[in-house]
């Protein structure tokens, strides 16, 4: 992953940790150890807003930013894609194994037990 991706991740982590909408300055302050320019933080937040993962609202003269959804929400969305639960998305990703029914899983569990036995 590139440097920009790294920055975006750091900014999102700040927004997820704090439960209130933050201004660009506040985000920059939270990332003080990275020594980022004000415009850099603004660019990153702007990119995140364009991607739709950050929502912003004007308060006085400054924009305040907050995550559009929780981290867990996004992880679930990715897993949902990956496990082929969303009908016509199957060509977008290639999952190692698709989800399966209870009977199939049971058959596999038995097969696994048979293979595992000689080991022990």
């Amino acid at each position: 992953m590139n440097r920009l991706g790294d920055l975006e991740r750091a900014v999102m982590d700040v927004l997820w940790q704090r439960n209130e909408p933050l201004t660009v300055r506040e985000v920059g302050r939270a990332l003080a150890d990275r020594d980022l320019a004000h415009t850099t933080v603004m660019t990153v937040l702007d990119r995140l807003a364009k991607k739709g993962v950050v929502a912003r609202a004007r308060e006085g003269r400054a924009w305040r930013y907050r995550p559009a959804a929780s981290r867990e929400n996004y992880v679930s969305e990715l897993m949902f894609d990956a496990l082929g639960q969303t009908g016509d998305r199957d060509a977008a990703l290639a999952a190692f194994v698709r989800s399966m029914s209870g009977n199939e899983a049971e058959a596999l569990r038995r097969a696994l037990a048979e293979i595992d036995e000689p080991r022990t």
């Binding site: 992953m1 991706g5 975006e8 991740r9 999102m12 991607k51 993962v53 981290r71 996004y74 992880v75 679930s76 969305e77 990715l78 897993m79 894609d81 990956a82 496990l83 082929g84 639960q85 016509d88 998305r89 199957d90 060509a91 977008a92 990703l93 290639a94 999952a95 190692f96 194994v97 698709r98 989800s99 399966m100 029914s101 209870g102 199939e104 899983a105 058959a107 596999l108 569990r109 097969a111 696994l112 293979i115």
Partner: protein
């Protein structure tokens, strides 16, 4: 009319051949050759069906499909459509209908492909954006991003510049390191050989004809073959047993956390995972070279014959 009859024969022949290929046992032994056979059948079916309709509809020109199309375009540009005059007679009306149907089918197939492609690109971009934000790298698992979720999942996100292999924390939990390496080798094979592009036309066909069981069945047959191709690639680097064990562990772990019912398995059919596992544990002899060459030659003949018939001026 001769070319219309011959093209119809090819179109029907493709359907019969597809049904037989679906039941054949050799594709398991040569998945790459079988995928090519599927592609040739699909393409030849489309070209021959559209060609048969056009050959019938444009027969009055007496110049074959290609010549007829050029003549039709010329007529449309210069003066009133030749076909509109023909439509007065009952025979002419059916020919106009055939040409319209041919254009309609072309449009549906083409739009389906474009729509699928656009949809896939959009889903992948969103997926990649989110992945960049919530996944992490793990020095223990080189070449893959980790997603912190208890369900077991391993997948790849294809792309020209931004391809990625992703493993969930739940998957790391059930796999030992050699099994994990086998899974990653399998996913890298998908990315390297761009298997997603092979599958795309078939998924767009599924999209263009929703709820048609046959199309659905063929799509899953090709999807399974592509998984086998990646299995074979991974087996060059890792042992077959490691890969089979990984498949089994995924199967048994995944079901606990994921709602069932998404996978379209027709009753009586063996589930895909079981087919793959038994193929890895009891490998059948690979398809012989002459047999593979025979299939490829047949595919080539089919394609060239179909295209040649478009030029037949009869």
């Amino acid at each position: 009319m001769v070319s219309a009859a011959l093209l119809t024969t090819i179109a029907v022949g493709c359907c019969i051949a597809a049904a037989r290929l679906r039941r054949a046992e050799w594709p398991v032994r040569g998945p790459y050759v079988a995928v090519i056979a599927w592609q040739a059948l699909g393409l030849a079916w489309g070209i021959s069906t559209i060609g048969a309709l056009l050959a019938f509809g444009l027969a009055p020109y007496g110049q074959g499909v290609f010549g007829g199309l050029i003549a039709l375009a010329g007529d449309a540009l210069s003066h009133d459509l030749y076909l509109s005059e023909l439509a007065g007679t009952p025979f002419g009306a059916s020919q106009v209908a055939a040409v319209v149907l041919a254009f309609g089918l072309t449009l549906v197939l083409f739009c389906g492909l474009v729509a699928s492609f656009v949809q896939v690109v959009r889903v992948r971009r969103r997926h990649h954006d989110l992945l960049e934000l919530v996944s992490r790298a793990d020095p223990e698992v080189p070449g893959a991003r980790i997603l912190d979720h208890p369900a077991a999942a391993a997948y790849c996100l294809p792309g020209v510049l931004r391809s990625q292999v992703v493993i969930s924390a739940g998957a790391l939990e059930v796999l030992d390191s050699s099994e994990l390496a086998a899974v990653i080798a399998h996913e890298h094979a998908h990315l390297r050989q761009r298997h997603d592009l092979v599958l795309l036309p078939f998924s767009s066909l599924k999209r263009a004809f929703p709820r048609v069981r046959v199309v659905e069945t063929y799509y899953s047959a090709v999807a399974l073959l592509i998984e086998m191709c990646a299995d074979d690639q991974a087996r060059r680097e890792r042992s077959a047993k490691e890969l089979a064990m990984a498949l089994l562990r995924f199967g048994t772990k995944g079901s606990a956390a994921v709602p069932a019912g998404a996978l379209a398995v027709t009753a009586g059919d063996q589930p895909d995972v079981v087919t793959r596992v038994s193929r890895l544990l009891n490998p059948a002899e690979a398809l012989s070279r002459p047999a593979a060459a025979g299939v490829l030659l047949a595919a080539l003949t089919l394609m060239s014959t179909t295209l040649a018939l478009w030029h037949l001026p009869m």
